[in-house]
Symmetry: none
Subunit: 203 residues, 4 copies
DNA sequence: ATCTAAACGAGACGGTACGTCAGGTCTTGGT
DNA sequence: ACCAAGACCTGACGTACCGTCTCGTTTAGAT
């Protein structure tokens, strides 16, 4: 059965998402209340709760809508360059827009005390980005640059682990230099042969 | 002039810390209220606020007091084994005591929306652990196992980055296997020659 | 435009007023907390603060709602009897219902350290009762029982002054005897000549 | 056995009383805390609680110490003038010193929710003043100005009732005019023969 | 053209926890 | 034993958000 009643207002949906992201970036996610979002978006609170389960889900949704086209998935023929490019682009996207870093931190924070959101966040944000990196390693494997994909999850953990660690614990910047270093580290780790043997050509 | 007035009650301090950590572990950090901590510790809420600025600071303090003796700093003569031992011990300490993982997640989450706490957390929790790892690398350098310490911060980022990433994003377990793999990765990356072999050409 | 949003809940309003008065009478105004009123009325604390500024205003409101029909305004044709009847009825209403005296004392006490409440109390409680008495004197003046209304405020002060003084300083009972004596005092003072006679003997 | 240990410090006692009254007058009784009194008096809180049971008792004590000499007990040979003089002096004492009115209001308010203080207040403040007025009526009776003292308590209630009523309910000023009017009313009621006629027996 | 039903704005509702404040008690070292 | 200082426990406060619940209004497709 196709119909019944008034259809969802696209205008409301957009205004809520835009307002949520704007407020989260300018005033800090934690300082923004649902009442504010509703009020600033000219929407009723119920309208928000009808379509999203929590403030976190609204902001995450806004984040995804917003970031849909920002990240580049490079294909240069070199694992090191691919990884460096992808990480560089990822870091950039976060730093460029003021307050975006804060929003990401808040998303991860929120995931810590909301199991439902944690699942959504992992499935719709964390995993897709892991998948992208996995693709880069798979391509490199196909090219023969990488001997085995057995440890690909560990390599991904290293890349994103360092990123999130710096982001969350504020122990260092996310810049092109870091992207380069991580790319080098991972391309070596994934292509080297530890036992001092021939090691063969690395590049 | 040495003092004035009634001295701080050591009993209260201990009971508050113990109660805070116990409640946080058993019922989840977010579900514990200041009123509960005060009440269960037989303390007044004001007494808590007199010495700590927030629930997070209380729990962090309890965490430090508690963890003072838990972590082993190994010295086996081998960087790989030292790192593996340290990480293993760190992971264990988190998994062994029920609920400890949750508390750590909550601490990191809290640091995301409380600047004051973030600073305290980094200085009194994050950095000391980095320092330990730094010591292991410095020893290995002194032994000649590591060629240069230029990238030691990156290696530390890798170790803790992966740990926190798995902890927070729930993308994999923190077990002995991971400790071993990270140790291998880092000892290789840092230029180690496990068995005194030629190391061959690295680049 | 008549409205917008959910209308105020009459049920909540009533339950809050009833609960407030009941608790104040049974347990003593000072021993009742806002949390208790809210909790017992099945209301949120915010709902109380949304419509009243303080506990005192809630109780006063309840008092007015409750006392709307209790006081008799007599019209016997004799000033002395009118005043005696009115005061008697007023005293009775306070003594009959257990705890009511205490509530009145508390209201007056509250007015002493809350300017806003003092104004409300005077305008909505004190003055209406003065007005009633003023009416009795005005009627008597119209009948020729009272020579002039110049000092009517003083007479009113005397009646209520003695009442409140005994109530607050606990220096004597509020009973029918007092009502009679005050009525006599005031009818004499105001120049009444009960039976149109030469003023002569009073009783 | 007369003594033991350090004697009570007269300096402390005075400073506490002075500070309490000063603060109560300048900032309003309700806005003053025990901590403030102690701190401003350079005393410990315990020192206050050692000698007084509550803030109200401290202030009342200060009030009595302060007012010891202020009130005149006139003896002019005329009841009307005696009463007018006494009330006038009483009203003046309250109005002259800024904030004193407020303190009296607060005392009476405090008596409403502290039974112990109520007793102390009545016995040491209310009753002595009643007694003074009683003396005036007794003298007048001895002079033959007053026929009987049967209703002296009512007359006293009228005088102080109007005073407190105006003070507490803010329904009129306490000035010389009021003192005169009350004196007239009471002297008439207590012995006068309003119409020059026989007036006959009152009861 | 009317009917029906869901979505909409507004905003009041029941709750939970917060951080603060004051009261009155207790515990130091010092007089 | 008294004192100043100040930490202690207790308990109420008024505020801030949460997520839910009415209201009357709007907006489409189905009748």
């Amino acid at each position: 059965m196709p119909h019944a009643g008034r259809p969802r207002s696209e205008q409301s949906r957009c205004r809520i998402l835009q307002t949520a992201l704007r407020l989260a970036r300018t005033r800090g996610y934690a300082n923004v209340t649902m009442d504010e979002i509703a009020s600033e978006a000219g929407a009723g609170k119920q309208t928000i709760y009808r379509w999203w389960r929590s403030k976190a889900e609204v902001v995450l949704d806004a984040l995804r809508e917003n970031a849909r086209v920002e990240i580049v998935i490079p294909d240069t023929g070199s694992l090191r360059e691919d990884v460096a490019g992808f990480l560089s682009s990822t870091f950039d996207a976060q730093q460029r827009r003021t307050g975006m870093t804060r929003v990401l931190q808040a998303m991860m924070a929120e995931a810590q005390h909301d199991k439902d959101f944690a699942d959504l966040f992992r499935d719709s944000f964390i995993e897709p980005r892991r998948e992208t990196l996995r693709t880069l390693f798979a391509r490199a494997h196909a090219r023969g640059e990488v001997r085995t994909l057995d440890e690909v999850d560990l390599w991904i953990d290293v890349a994103f682990g360092v990123m999130w660690y710096r982001l969350l614990a504020d122990v260092g910047p996310l810049d092109a230099t870091l992207a380069e270093k991580l790319a080098s580290l991972l391309s070596e780790a994934s292509g080297a042969h530890p036992k001092g043997v021939t090691t063969a050509a690395k590049k």
